[in-house]
């Protein structure tokens, strides 16, 4: 999405009728950042600077919002994003083991990206498929019931292959 073409009124929607201009601009920041991230994969400084110019909000204001939420990233991320669920249901069914073995297999820690930008390993708190615990998502595709070493190896293989 092109930042300069972003229309504040269109983004904020109906509710904009009851808001001042400044409120509207502030109101779409999260949404705009989400869109930038959906396009680029993370929030590069240039894009944030452009957004700041476009919305007439200072960079620090935008960063203060972006840095609060867990979902915004300031560094490039891997092609495959593997999220191990550490939600309660998954945790009690042993998702820690899944995380450990992924960390070992790819030699990165949770939250890091492999050097070739092939994959990023993360944890989430519940993806809402607790019935299938322990759950891991690969680019939003859910792999459930990863119990036992065979399933684990299968998971690692499916992350490795393109």
């Amino acid at each position: 999405m092109q930042i300069e073409k972003m229309q504040v009124d269109e983004q904020i929607g109906e509710i904009g009728r009851i808001l001042t201009d400044q409120e509207k601009k502030k109101g779409i920041v999260i949404h705009a950042l989400q869109q930038i991230q959906a396009d680029i994969g993370y929030l590069p400084e240039d894009a944030v600077r452009e957004l700041s110019r476009h919305l007439n909000l200072s960079m620090s204001e935008i960063y203060s919002v972006a840095s609060f939420y867990k979902m915004f990233y300031f560094n490039p991320r891997g092609k495959k994003i593997v999220k191990v669920c550490l939600g309660t249901a998954c945790y009690v069914r042993g998702s820690k083991k899944v995380l450990d073995s992924l960390e070992n297999a790819f030699d990165i820690k949770s939250g890091e990206t492999t050097e070739d930008l092939a994959m990023t390993l993360e944890t989430v708190g519940c993806v809402g498929c607790c019935g299938l615990a322990p759950v891991t998502t690969i680019n939003d595709e859910v792999a459930g019931e990863i119990i036992g070493s065979r399933k684990l190896e299968g998971l690692i293989r499916s992350v490795r292959e393109d």
Partner: protein, 896 residues
């Protein structure tokens, strides 16, 4: 789709749908679950297959992709009408069978029917499945029955009928009264009555008001809001519409958690359809109600589920909570200062049924204080996990054992956590508690959003508490101090406990900290964060104590606790543990058996989980200690200890238990058996190491020795120096009282000087002799009593009578051959008959030589001077007197 402009249009549309047979009960129809969990099990592919199979078979069957049907774990699930067969775990490949067998021939597919265990009869129909039998569905009434992306389905099942009723026959005030009368309590957490909240908002003077639905559902382990948003979005819209009508709001916002893309998609479709058909927008159904709904996506922050933080997030700020008042429902409280009504998704979804069927109907279910039903996300160690909706007042036992089917693997139930990370753990003794908002609060937990995580004996309660706390700690927004710092502190303590470093007093520290955090945090997150820890301490205190005192985790979860040992009776040496052990702690012993070297073992428990036979056992750690009564300081243990855990102190040797790895090496080398071990818990629980009971043998009381007796003892010696020394030693040990100086100091000094002489130490000189003379004369002169003066006299006598003898000692010669340091034993080869008697007798192995039958050609006997301690035993035993005592220093040399 045609826009509906009046109530009549809506009624007409519903009539038309029913005449067309939409969702008619007797039609052939497959309802495939396409909720998130089933999608993960390829249910979309299954639905596609079903379509194409039906087409190619030319069968008349309606295929509906529904939202979550509840039994997510056994997905993909489907129900088949008209008979109502219930299938689970349907693979896409089975689509053909389903169509040809069940749809065409109306016969069930045996292997897809649900059965509890292989031996049991299968449940044909959905009403027979125990998971569904006890449920009563109000909030989930349409979930799993309609296609969420089709508004016509919703209308055909009676959707928007409540709106119709409200707009045509009720005033806004009446709608509000009805909700108030139904005592609908908020399903999102605290259970505040929705009607009261609505009234507040209605009373706010502002012309602009908002209706906000809280779909943030950050609670890990809960997913009912998601299922409703995905599976029945129109119910939510209808509930919000009714709220808007009742409080006079114009704008609606649904705040959806970022991790729920499917929910966002379905909500968007639903909003679009509702707008197109005139159910949202301006002048709804011609009744003058204006209402629009928007979706706001969150960005991943648990605290944004809190009302004021949610408002901040909607405004595009950091999601910090703010102090109340103003409350959301007041002027200045909601987003941009407009009053707003915030409710949970499930709360809104209950409203249409209340309006349609009346408050009286709603009050019939549930308990007196909490009417209605509640959706729980039943997860954890139960056989059937998924979404269940039960009337309030059902007992935990019914939910876990009847609906959930009991614990996986028939393990023992331990606890159930309700209310997510802010809730509490409920132990077995409260299993028969009928649950509603108030009863849960009574046992220290909360309803929360309805997460219900079941734990069995394999879950360590301390670890679970740590998990919940670490969640809250990570999610704390950091605005206020007690929550930010306090939760971190608590987490550190728990970390310490679970890694085996726990100390006495930690539990109390946790309790105090927890109380402070609860009472002084700004928002609900901090106020409830200590709950899991506090309730688990309340109900499972002994498990905490076990971690701290016994260094033992009964669930074998916590690393660094317990003693890992390998049971060689079971082990069949597959070497799996050896391969997996990251510390190479598993070794092979000389007998070819495996054992775990405790010094290397880090108690990571990798081997424990890999051993197929369960040969790796985790036991309570013993504590080793040294029995001071038995230890005789041989230092064997110090030398063998690989981690330097044995320390030398002023009172003896001691094992530093923080360093000791309990490898048991010292245990084996201690000849005295002074190293003992005991279960640590036992020792510590007594408070101190119990005093050893030593039975003291009664000593005979010996009367005080007199100077005459001493003199007699002394005179037995031959060497004058020895005589003097014996006298002094016995005098000091016996009658000397130490009252006057010449005697107490003088005798000590005289003794030292005499020892110098007798042992021929290098620094013995003429001055020693002079000093002895002086001491003797002083004592004679100025000792207070006769004993002292006698001693002095004896000393002076000896020196006077044998001055030459004393002087020879200075040069290292004892003419009487009595002072052992000046003599040597030697074997006189002329006399020796090589009988070997002396060799046998010598305790110190100082005599070398071979006993021989015939003396020819054998090594001559010889005494090793370095080893010989001059005990004189050999002299006594030699039959020929071949062992001679000579002076070490040749007298002739001196005389020169």
């Amino acid at each position: 789709m045609k826009k509906l402009t009046s109530i009549d249009d809506l009624i007409a549309l519903r009539k038309q749908l029913s005449s067309e047979g939409v969702l008619a009960p007797n039609k052939k129809r497959i309802r495939v679950c396409c909720g998130t969990a089933c999608r993960a099990n390829k249910s979309l592919k299954l639905a596609d297959k079903l379509y194409s199979e039906a087409k190619s078979n030319d069968t008349d069957v309606e295929i509906i992709t529904t939202g979550c049907q509840g039994l997510c774990q056994l997905g993909p699930v489907m129900t088949i009408q008209p008979k109502g067969y219930f299938y689970h775990k349907v693979k896409p490949e089975r689509a053909g069978d389903v169509i040809s067998c069940t749809i065409k021939d109306e016969k069930p597919l045996w292997d897809l029917l649900f059965r509890r265990s292989i031996g049991e009869k299968p449940a044909y129909f959905i009403r027979d499945v125990p998971f569904y039998r006890k449920q009563q569905r109000i909030a989930l009434r349409n979930n799993g029955r309609i296609d969420p992306t089709n508004i016509l389905h919703y209308i055909a099942t009676g959707g928007y009928r409540a709106l119709e009723k409200a707009l045509s026959t009720m005033t806004a005030q009446q709608v509000l009264e009805e909700v108030k009368k139904a005592n609908l309590r908020g399903r999102g957490g605290a259970g505040f009555p929705a009607g009261v909240k609505w009234e507040h908002t209605r009373k706010a003077p502002d012309p602009v008001k908002l209706v906000i639905a809280n779909g943030d559902e950050g609670d890990p382990g809960a997913f009912m809001d998601r299922s409703i948003m995905e599976g029945d979005p129109h119910s939510l819209l209808e509930g919000m519409l009714l709220c808007a009508y009742a409080i006079g709001a114009q704008q609606g916002i649904i705040y959806v958690r970022h991790e729920y893309p499917l929910a966002v998609k379905h909500l968007q479709i639903a909003i679009k359809q509702a707008e197109d058909s005139g159910l949202l927008g301006k002048n709804i159904l011609g009744k003058g109600l204006d209402f629009r709904v928007q979706i706001k996506e969150g960005a991943g922050a648990f605290v944004c589920g809190e009302a004021t933080a949610l408002v901040a997030s909607i405004e595009g700020e950091r999601g910090f909570p703010n102090p109340r008042p103003p409350r959301l429902s007041e002027h200045g409280g909601g987003p941009w200062g407009y009053p707003a009504n915030l409710n949970n998704i499930e709360t809104y979804v209950c409203v249409p049924t209340i309006i349609e069927k009346g408050a009286g109907w709603f009050l019939k279910t549930g308990t007196a204080t909490s009417p209605g039903t509640k959706v729980f996300a039943l997860t954890g160690k139960v056989k059937n996990t998924g979404l269940v909706e039960v009337p309030m007042g059902m007992t935990l036992r019914e939910i876990i054992f009847d609906i959930g089917g009991g614990i996986i693997g028939n393990k023992k139930f331990k606890a159930v956590q309700t209310g997510g990370p802010s809730g509490g753990c409920i132990p077995e003794q409260h299993l028969d508690l009928p649950i509603d908002f108030d009863s849960l609060a009574k046992v220290g937990s909360i309803m929360g959003s309805g997460g219900m995580v079941v734990m069995d004996e394999d879950n360590c309660i301390v670890d679970v508490a740590k998990f919940f706390l670490s969640f809250c700690q990570a999610e704390s927004c950091g605005k206020c101090y007690p929550c930010r710092v306090g939760t971190y502190q608590m987490l550190q303590i728990l970390e310490k406990i679970t890694s085996g470093q726990g100390e006495e007093g930690d539990i109390e520290r946790l309790e105090t900290l927890g109380r402070y955090i609860k009472s002084s945090s700004l928002c609900g997150l901090g106020k409830s964060a200590p709950n899991p820890v506090l309730t688990t301490i309340k109900y499972f205190r002994e498990e905490y104590e076990e971690h701290i005192r016994d260094k033992y985790c009964r669930a074998f979860v916590c690393q660094g606790l317990g003693q890992i040992s390998l049971n060689t009776d079971i082990c069949y040496q597959c070497k799996r543990c050896m391969d997996i052990c990251p510390y190479e702690a598993i070794r092979e012993s000389e007998e070819g058996l495996f054992y775990i070297d405790q010094v290397f073992c880090q108690r990571c428990k990798a081997c424990f989980s890999v051993c197929p036979l369960g040969a790796i056992e985790i036991k309570e750690q013993p504590v080793l200690f040294i029995d001071k009564e038995l230890c005789y300081f041989c230092r064997n243990c110090i030398n063998i200890c690989r981690v330097d855990a044995i320390k030398e102190t002023s009172t003896g040797f001691m094992i530093d238990s923080t360093l000791c790895k309990r490898c048991g090496d010292c245990f084996k080398v201690c000849l005295m058996g002074a190293i003992k071990y005991e279960k640590e818990g036992k020792l510590l629980r007594k408070g101190i190491v119990a005093p050893l009971e030593v039975t003291v043998e009664k000593e005979e009381i010996i009367g005080e020795i007199t100077i005459d007796e001493i003199r007699m003892d002394a005179e037995e010696k031959t060497c004058s120096v020895q005589k003097a020394l014996t006298f002094l030693e016995e005098f000091i040990a016996g009658p000397m009282c130490g009252r006057c100086y010449p005697c107490s100091l003088g005798t000590e000094e005289a003794k030292i000087r005499l020892i110098r002489l007798s042992q021929h130490l290098d620094y013995a000189t003429e001055s020693d002799l002079q000093a002895l003379k002086r001491i003797a004369s002083f004592m004679i002169e100025s000792s207070y009593c006769k004993k002292g003066r006698d001693t002095g006299r004896f000393l002076a006598e000896k020196i006077e009578s044998a001055e030459e003898e004393f002087r020879l000692h200075i040069s290292g010669i004892c003419p009487k051959r009595e002072c052992i340091s000046s003599i040597e034993y030697v074997v006189n080869p002329d006399l020796c008959v090589a009988c070997g008697a002396c060799v046998k007798r010598c305790k110190y192995d100082a005599i070398k030589g071979e006993a021989a039958e015939s003396a020819a050609g054998v090594l001559p006997f010889e005494i090793k001077q370095k080893v010989c301690v001059r005990c004189g035993e050999c002299v006594n035993v030699c039959p020929t007197g071949a062992i001679e005592v000579i002076s070490r220093i040749k007298e002739e040399l001196i005389n020169k």
